[in-house]
């Protein structure tokens, strides 16, 4: 800026954080959600591509996956939205005590999901090596499990962080709110996968 500058306005009074689309964290999370959403969408496309080549779905003589574990998981994961919304709202009014409690609840609530997920793998009634149908079923369940794992990791770290002095910083409340947003993506995407794994094989002849 060799030729000099002209001052016109000062930024000192601006805030140092904002929620939702005002925050950079939100843009990053949205970016990752779109990336992962594409992974899911393309896996769904692969599912239907393989389905299209089969006479029956699941290919005879295989039986569709057993419903119990997956359905329980679906109910439970929908229920987690209660503490999740609670945390998100608390974060947006900087209510540290509630955020702390909520995060502990969330960290614990995910554990039974892992147990059920284990049973889900066992109730697919097909191995990934059997045929393309088996491969794609395992792919869908595996992809979703990686999301459970990463989000659980995030939540644990965030929980620990909120119990330190860093928890008082405004931008940590933004992080908490965006972490809750990501969890919504995790369970919303599960609803679609649940349909593809458990119900499409039952609805198709």
């Amino acid at each position: 800026m060799a030729d000099g500058v002209r001052f016109e306005g000062d930024l000192a009074a601006l805030p140092t954080h904002g929620f939702g689309h005002r925050s950079i964290t939100w843009w990053g999370i949205i970016g990752f959600m779109v990336v992962e959403g594409m992974f899911f969408a393309l896996s769904f496309a692969a599912y239907f591509f393989i389905l299209d080549k089969e006479q029956t779905w699941p290919p005879a003589p295989l039986a569709p996956p057993d419903l119990l574990a997956g359905s329980l998981l679906t109910i439970l994961i929908l229920l987690t939205e209660i503490p999740n919304s609670w945390i998100k709202r608390a974060a947006e009014r900087y209510d540290l005590a509630t955020v702390r409690k909520g995060l502990v609840v969330m960290s614990a609530a995910v554990i039974p999901l892992f147990v059920l997920r284990g049973f889900e793998f066992a109730s697919l009634n097909v191995s990934w090596t059997d045929n393309a149908y088996g491969s794609v079923m395992w792919l869908l369940l595996f992809l979703h499990t990686t999301h459970l794992v990463t989000d659980w990791g995030d939540t644990l770290v965030l929980t620990a962080l909120m119990f330190t002095e860093h928890g008082k910083e405004a931008n940590r409340f933004v992080d908490t709110s965006e972490n809750a947003l990501y969890w919504r993506f995790v369970w919303l995407s599960w609803l679609l996968i649940y349909l593809l794994i458990y119900w499409v094989p039952r609805w198709l002849p």
């Binding site: 800026m1 060799a2 930024l11 950079i24 990053g28 591509f49 393989i50 990934w128 090596t129 491969s135």
Partner: protein, 635 residues
């Protein structure tokens, strides 16, 4: 809020710059080199690395042209030739072209937006290291004679467990995973930077066309790279743990590979081409002394190209047998891509016509781009028609076509852009004499090398053959192509010599040596670590061509890294935001990730075991250091 140092009337000039420098400068020495998160350091490094792969890829192409210069030549064995063309294509597409386009944007975009660093700067450092390790995996594999050999698009079943035993294909597939992680990270950073870090007043309709091109490219990367990451993941699973995605005997389908791969790889061509159009728009503006005409049409053309490029991937599969309507649809869609491309070309030509062109080296590359790209576009419209494609498929006609669009459409603008921004990167102007010499050698050599391939192709010479019999009528043309490559190599050497000689001179470039209009030219050449002492304000699409001193805003913190976030559409100031310090953890995370990916080639358990160190590294990366800052904690 007193006691916090901020720029303003009371703190400006040398005093301000010294303090900002202390805040933003990376640590000294090797440690600083490993820990820096400055977008200029990472961008420069990314550019150097990608250009190194351009050189390596070119060396492979020279080897191929030596072999093909004469019929029945025995220089290179058939198996080695397969590896060489696979490595050439893979290196050029995955290690050079896409990374270099992102690399240039990492350097230029934050400056052009008038901000101090890229969004998510640590992710940016992580991305570079991940890319580097993926690239090394591929090349170390090649040197150890486990380089891939099934072509750059790795078609199954050839690349499957049955026909490609050994590790060659696995190395290729994991290299893909590395580069896709790296590429996606940069795309997210650039999107956030362009939408949220713009200087106050730079509403979307005042944004330079290059930024538009990068915005659309980044969104395309976000939407398309998952496809190749997914299918290479499926391929490696088929090969290593016995899934059946592509195995027709267990109801898989090799065409699934082709769909997923081209769903990525057709947009990839535009991911390479659109940033190049952005270079061209900036260079045309600067060297004609007027904004590119019909700005809204240019922006719409870029957006339309992005959209259309997702609807045409099947044109790579005309030879696989499609429903009749499929042929018609994909031919029409493919030809439609020519419309926005033509709009852009007409706008550039009209701008040159109305302006006063200065024929400096960057501008020459733009003219070469237009000529070459139009030829490549025309042969593209030819192969978009199914009857012609069925004739030309897998011949040298196609090799000629895609080099006209890739080299003409991307490498020429890139060389122009590197020359154009070289003073910004390094503080020195490249020599115009050597620059023009290199330009003419490269441009003429390119046409001598590749124009004849249209004819060799029409005469029936297939691609991917390690040799050919004499007297097919191909001998002279092949010799001519090889001579042309020799001329390109000379040109490349002159280009490199120019860079090397220039870097030995003292820094003397002014901030705005070409009299350009966009904000990066308001920063010093090269810019200091904090880019701008005050936040620049934008009043028009060509801020540096406005009369009077540059308007700026004050009030960002000086003793802590802080930058300005503005609203996405109008760029009104919204938030002062902390920007992270340098750290070693992105590098260590990338090392942990590399161990996991490379280990997974040998045992699937590496994925499980490798998660622990990766988790630790990520934890250390994200955990805040020191005590909370002096700002009010909860406002």
């Amino acid at each position: 809020m007193t006691g916090i140092a901020r720029d303003g009337e009371a703190l400006k000039g040398a005093e301000l710059e010294g303090r900002l420098d202390r805040t933003w400068r990376p640590a000294p020495g090797l440690w600083g080199w490993l820990t820096t998160v400055d977008h200029k350091d990472i961008g420069r490094r990314y550019i150097y690395t990608a250009m190194t792969f351009l050189i390596l890829g070119s060396i492979l192409s020279v080897a191929m042209r030596l072999q093909l210069a004469r019929p029945e030549s025995g220089l290179i064995s058939p198996a080695r030739y397969n590896q060489i063309f696979t490595m050439h294509g893979t290196t050029m597409m995955f290690l050079f072209a896409v990374p270099v386009m992102e690399a240039a944007a990492i350097y230029v975009i934050p400056l052009m937006m008038g901000t101090r660093n890229i969004a998510f700067p640590r992710l940016n450092a992580f991305s570079y290291w991940t890319y580097l390790f993926g690239a090394l995996l591929l090349w170390v594999g090649f040197v150890l004679n486990v380089g891939p050999d099934a072509g750059w698009f790795m078609y199954t079943p050839l690349s499957g467990p049955q026909f490609s035993p050994g590790k060659r294909t696995d190395i290729w597939a994991q290299m893909i995973t590395f580069t896709e992680v790296a590429g996606l990270a940069v795309a997210i950073e650039l999107t956030a930077t362009i939408l949220k870090f713009r200087a106050p007043g730079m509403s979307l309709n005042r944004m330079p066309l290059y930024a538009w091109a990068i915005l659309v490219t980044s969104i395309m990367i976000i939407l398309s790279l998952p496809a190749v990451a997914l299918c290479s993941g499926m391929l490696i699973a088929d090969r290593l743990i016995g899934t059946q995605f592509f195995n027709p005997f267990e109801h898989g389908d090799p065409l699934l590979w082709q769909h997923l791969f081209w769903f990525f790889a057709h947009p990839e061509v535009y991911i390479i081409f659109l940033p190049a159009t952005g270079f061209v728009s900036q260079i045309v503006e600067t060297f004609t002394g007027r904004p590119v005409i019909a700005y809204p049409a240019m922006v719409l053309a870029v957006v339309a190209t992005g959209f259309l490029s997702f609807g045409v991937w099947v044109h790579h599969m005309f030879a696989t047998g499609l429903p009749r309507l499929g042929y018609d649809f994909y031919t029409a869609a493919t030809m439609a891509v020519a419309i926005p491309a033509s709009i852009q070309i007409f706008c550039w030509i009209a701008t040159m016509w109305l302006g006063k062109p200065r024929y400096a080296t960057p501008f020459l590359y733009v003219i070469a781009f237009i000529v070459t790209f139009v030829i490549g576009g025309l042969s593209g419209v030819m192969v978009a028609s199914v009857p012609l494609d069925l004739q030309f498929h897998d011949t040298y006609f196609v090799v000629a076509h895609f080099h006209y669009v890739l080299v003409g459409g991307a490498v020429f603008p890139l060389l122009g852009a590197l020359t154009y921004w070289f003073p910004k990167f390094s503080g020195r102007m490249l020599s115009e004499g050597l620059g023009k010499l290199a330009f003419w050698l490269i441009f003429l050599g390119f046409n001598i090398a590749f124009f004849p391939m249209h004819i060799t192709g029409m005469l029936g010479m297939p691609r991917r053959v390690y040799t050919y019999p004499a007297n097919m009528g191909w001998d002279g043309l092949n010799m001519l192509s090889s001579i042309g490559v020799g001329v390109i190599v000379l040109g490349g050497l002159v280009f490199l010599a120019n860079v090397a000689l220039t870097l030995r001179r003292p820094r003397d470039a002014a901030p705005n040596p070409w009299n350009a209009a966009s904000l990066e030219w308001a920063a010093a050449s090269p810019p200091p670590p904090y880019n701008f002492p005050h936040v620049p304000v934008v009043r028009s699409a060509t801020p540096l061509w406005e009369q009077g001193p540059l308007p700026v805003m004050t009030g960002l913190r000086v003793d802590d890294r802080e930058l300005l976030i503005t609203t996405a559409i109008d760029a009104r100031p919204d938030i002062r935001y902390p920007s992270p310090e340098g750290t070693i953890w992105p590098l260590l995370s990338a090392i942990a990730l590399a161990a996991l990916f490379i280990g997974s080639i040998f045992t699937p358990w590496a994925v499980v075991i490798g998660l622990a160190p990766l988790g630790v590294a990520f934890l250390a990366w994200f955990w805040p250091k020191g005590s909370p800052t002096a700002e009010p904690v909860i406002e």
